[in-house]
Symmetry: C2
Subunit: 356 residues, 2 copies
């Protein structure tokens, strides 16, 4: 493997000293970039873009060609796993994802295919290898997965949801069936992320997008327990290096103490949490990633710079902070605003590191 | 005024001793009740139901006729205030609320009518008087309002929103204009709730449904500050009694300490907060209302009873707890499940009070 030329993202995740705070952005490879929209159009469909390694590689690298980012994140979708397990993913234009065969009962759970990532999701692994070659160590590559709980919400609801009535109904009426589904998914997530590590990613991240709709007790039993179980089954020393792992539960700000005990190296924070208070609470155990309000990218230049400076100041001195948004960048954001954000991190953050 | 026969809800809010934990339910007058659906059909439209005191009174009292609830809540809608201020509220069937004249600029804010509740919202005040007469002191009556911030989100977005791009854009680009709008709304909320107190409600509640989409700093400046300002302008000793006030910020579990300093007597909690931890944090200053997961009403009877017992046990011994859901009851819930919940509160809660 090519050694990393810029590894400050990895060092910050492992809470080793850095010269400045690393920065990347959730959904940095995405619709706000005109060059992304061109490739997306060329691909014809979103799924075609995900499943064509040459195109997925191209959009993964686009934000790094434009901005001095400290990490690349593999362009993909969290629903590739349930698709490969037999649920039949469809993206209707403007409607979000739908599954042809959602989970309705115990036999649906038993019928789920055991994931063999190198054959079932070969296109993902090929994209990892292609991106690694083209990156040449310029930046670390992040491989990600949905959390077992978050994948289960889509698989049971049949697509996106606002109320989560079906999966909450299942939780209250047939908790053992939900546990069986989550066990299967924890195994699939572990196999998937292990395959990505073997193919060459430098860090892994688990997106628990819907953990925040749970009560504290439900969160620990149905979301965190399975995110932890997946992690426990992943060998994280690869190619002579430690592969750091990040857990991001949107809406999880009240459960950071439990999350910090789960074995993940870093926690992602959405913008509703005070990153300074979060550090006081858990910063001696884990690194923190976040947490600018994504809508601050609509602010005038000076106000945006102030918001960046405030996040850095709230985190304070020392390593363990990866600058990011608290959620994905919106499609209508001006890319020059992203540049302003990154430059502000470069300008303001060295004062919080080193002898300064 | 008729003295209250059952005032345990009021005593719990004021943290005075009670014999058992009082219980009511957000949206208890609503679509899950067949008798509500009949009156709603008779009314022809949702707005007609809100604006006809005889019908609004009838649906307010329906849940109390069916269940032994400890409070009535006036049937109304939070968007009556902006409607009365000139925004032109419309409910398109199955689409949620829309305003014909949303707030776009400074002249829209200046054009807002100063609210005169007894004339502009006479139908609300008439409903309060009618309900008070018919209740005859059997239970206290709650009058509510949206928080200034929550009202502003609808007024700027023009209706419901998932992303809040317009109001967040306004916040970052023209914060002074948003502050002007919020000042006007704080005044309107104060006038509205003061008029309800004069008409005879026994407690007031402010619904800050969308406070949880803000960052901690934004929450304090744009939501809490104006909820507090409204409260400060309301005389809360009426008819020889103290009128308690409840503040409910959905998604506000991370900001309870700030909320507890705002002058409200009680805080509403959604189901993502551990009510035991919340009590440790703020229970010496305020009462707490909540916080069963509304979807626990889909659970089998025994599981539902266990969930109720767990909430009571987490809060623990002593007064200061009003049992409620963490959000409104869903339209497809079986009313018998609501009965099970209430009976479980009656059965389990006395052990947490008195000498027991």
């Amino acid at each position: 493997m090519t050694p990393l030329i810029n590894d400050c993202f990895i060092r910050a995740l492992l809470r080793q000293p850095v010269e400045r705070t690393p920065v990347w952005m959730m959904r940095q490879a995405g619709r706000y970039l005109p060059e992304y929209r061109r490739v997306r159009e060329q691909a014809g469909s979103f799924m075609n873009l995900c499943t064509t390694p040459e195109l997925a590689c191209e959009v993964t690298l686009q934000p790094l060609a434009r901005f001095p980012l400290d990490a690349a994140i593999l362009f993909s979708d969290i629903l590739t796993i349930p698709d490969a397990m037999g649920l039949g993913l469809e993206f209707a234009e403007g409607e979000g994802p739908r599954f042809r065969n959602p989970i309705r009962n115990a036999s649906d759970v038993r019928r789920l295919r055991v994931l063999d990532p190198e054959s079932d999701l070969r296109y993902v692994m090929d994209t990892v290898r292609l991106v690694r070659d083209r990156l040449g160590g310029r930046a670390p590559l992040i491989g990600f997965s949905g959390s077992p709980w978050t994948l289960a919400t889509y698989m049971v609801e049949g697509g996106s949801s606002r109320e989560f009535r079906k999966i909450k109904g299942l939780m209250y009426q047939e908790p053992q069936l939900l546990h069986a589904l989550l066990s299967t998914l924890a195994e699939a997530v572990a196999l998937y992320l292990s395959a990505k590590i073997a193919a060459g990613v430098d860090a892994i991240m688990v997106f628990d997008t819907w953990g925040g709709v749970l009560s504290p007790d439900q969160y620990e039993r149905f979301s965190l327990a399975y995110a932890k179980r997946a992690l426990d089954r992943i060998g994280r020393n690869a190619h002579g290096k430690r592969i750091p792992a990040i857990l991001f539960t949107k809406g999880g700000g009240q459960w950071l103490e439990a999350m910090a005990e789960s074995g993940y190296d870093a926690l992602g924070l959405d913008w509703t949490t005070d990153i300074g208070k979060a550090r006081e609470l858990v910063g001696h155990k884990v690194a923190l990633q976040g947490n600018l309000d994504p809508q601050a990218l609509y602010a005038p230049r000076d106000a945006l710079r102030t918001e960046v400076a405030q996040i850095l100041a709230r985190y304070g001195r020392g390593t363990g902070h990866v600058f990011n948004l608290g959620h994905g960048v919106a499609p209508d954001v001006d890319p020059e605003q992203v540049r302003t954000m990154i430059e502000a991190v470069h300008e303001f953050s060295p004062a919080f590191h080193g002898a300064g």
